[in-house]
């Protein structure tokens, strides 16, 4: 399927959606919340000092009421040999890679939602359940979510996870920068507070970038000269320093342009105005079909 025809379809569908709601397309262009404030916060992950102790994983689970299990299990490092992704049981995980600078050591890396400045999940969500907050956090609103899972497809880092095992009210799960109970109240995210190494530094994003650049400049022998997240997908709130090329740490090469959500032209009308359920599901069906085509195209 070529891009042109998909766009045509979207336009038509958008008009249709707006038509159903009885408004002109222009008026439908009310954005979901997506603030990119100059003072937004972020977290700098200095993976050169991370020791892979997984205290951050424990703290995150405790903070979000997820089962922690036996603390001794977190001491077992053999599990780190396998690459893991954040899922519904753990919003953040540690992965381990060889350390090219020191064969006696490893490079450990924390993975979670990057809290993009121009989040594809926010763009993709047709009901505005996702939003970028003023402090940088990208959060998800349970009451709005309809379970379409577009966010999962749109996210360039494959972060949002879906509780497939729950028949009733399954949730989308991802790192929320501890927004509700911590960062919205000026407190540190749980993982940052727990990290015994200060491998995670919470602060204003622009200050973290200054610090990261200074670290690279002061100790060029320790760092790979790149801050992942400074420009990737238009910038992210989580920023990474490393001792090696990010490609060898499973960071995707996502370019520096924000990822648009495939459903962007539609969502505003849908989210802002009430739409009869039948029309909504009709549209969703069409969009899902599009999303599928999109994915197949990428895989080609």
């Amino acid at each position: 399927m070529n891009t042109q025809s998909r766009r045509e379809f979207l336009k038509t569908a958008g008009l249709l959606g707006a038509g159903i709601a009885g408004i002109k397309p222009k008026e439908a262009a009310a954005s979901p919340v997506n603030i990119v404030s100059d003072d937004r916060m972020g977290v700098l992950v200095d993976s050169t000092v991370c020791i892979g102790c997984r205290q951050c994983e424990i703290a995150c689970k405790e903070e979000h009421g997820l089962p922690v299990g036996s603390l001794d299990d977190y001491m077992d490092r053999t599990l780190l040999a396998e690459m893991r992704r954040p899922d519904t049981t753990a919003l953040t995980v540690i992965n381990e890679y060889p350390n090219p600078k020191n064969p006696d050591q490893h490079t450990d890396l924390k993975v979670q939602c990057m809290h993009c400045d121009h989040p594809a999940c926010v763009s993709a969500c047709i009901v505005g359940a996702f939003s970028k907050q003023e402090n940088g956090a990208v959060i998800w609103d349970e009451s709005r979510c309809i379970g379409c899972r577009y966010c999962m497809v749109a996210c360039p880092f494959q972060v949002p996870a879906f509780e497939f095992d729950k028949a009733l009210e399954p949730k989308i799960m991802k790192c929320d920068l501890c927004y509700d109970n911590r960062t919205s109240k000026g407190k540190l995210p749980a993982c940052v507070e727990a990290c015994p190494q200060n491998a995670l530094i919470f602060g204003k994003r622009y200050e973290l970038l200054q610090l990261a650049h200074q670290k690279i400049q002061d100790r060029p022998q320790s760092y790979f000269d790149h801050i992942y997240g400074e420009h990737e997908v238009g910038g992210t709130s989580w920023l990474y320093l490393s001792n090696q090329d990010f490609a060898s740490l499973d960071f995707p090469d996502v370019g520096t342009e924000p990822m648009p959500g495939a459903t962007e032209p539609l969502q505003h009308a849908l989210f802002k105005f009430f739409i009869p359920p039948v029309a909504l599901y009709g549209l969703l069906g069409g969009i899902m079909w599009l999303g599928k085509g999109n994915k197949a195209e990428e895989e080609e």
């Binding site: 020791i51 001491m75 006696d104 200060n198 530094i201």
Partner: protein, 339 residues
Amino acid sequence: MKQRLTFLKTILFALTLISGALAQNAAAKHHSEFPLNCQECHTCKNPTFEKPCLRITPHLIRKGAPSKHSLKEAPEKITIDLLSNKYGPVVFSHKDHAAMAAMGDKCESCHHHNPPGKILACSSCHDAKSNQPSGQKPSLKAAYHQRCIGCHKSWDSTWQKKTQCETCHAKKGSTPLKIRKLVNPSFPEMERAKIPETFTYKSDNEDAPIVTFHHGAHATMYVDKCETCHSNETCADCHGSKVKEREISHETCESCHDTESEEKCGLCHDQKQKPSFSHQAYGFTLDTTHAQFECKVCHLNRNFDKKPQCLNCHHSYHFPAQKPGKAVRVIKKKKAEAK
């Protein structure tokens, strides 16, 4: 009227505070008054207490105050209990670590940015209250962990399978607190007493290719400090899973041994491993009294070819049957060993 009184009171109070501060200043000068190059530690022009704009630590450019202090002053053990909640206090073998650091980045490897004067504890700069870094400085907890684990996770082979908090932290309630010996495949217990004994090398000398280096004898008898030979070492050079192979050449030994004259080759080179030198083999027992002296006390001008004369120091001496005569030379003992 009442207002004015309060105002006066405030002023008085402030004055007392200021004079107090001044008196303190007179006793301990602020380091900015010393002839130092600010840029070695600070990145901005006007560092303040809140915003010290310190270089990323540890930064080893400046050989600061620690170089003026000796190992002898170093405290033996330091108990770190400022932050213990889940675990009991950590007992840090400070002097042992200081002795090891002497072979590498010296005291500055931990006491970086130490202004002239007293050696400062980690807690005098690193914040113990919050786990958030202040400025460029890690919190106290992170400062400890970064300094310790940076090395400890690298040579401790079991760390690869298990995160070993208990290497340093004993679980609360478990007694006694003891620093666990690090397990290493090459050196089961890396202590000063267990320094490697003998190394053999193969040289390109065709007649006598084997060179024997009695490391243990050198370390205990001939040199008083490890750093006489070992400098710029990293922890992993000795403790790593693979001990660093060191380049050895005539230059390594020539500061003490004559590597030029052909008759002397046999001192180190042979066809097989050579036994260690023993005073006993030459009819002299290096007893505890004599072992305390520096070599040159008996071997005048460090001339090891000539057998030392007892009469150089003793009034009269009839070896081996009789007691030595009165000492005629007062000899200073070797400086106390760095341990």
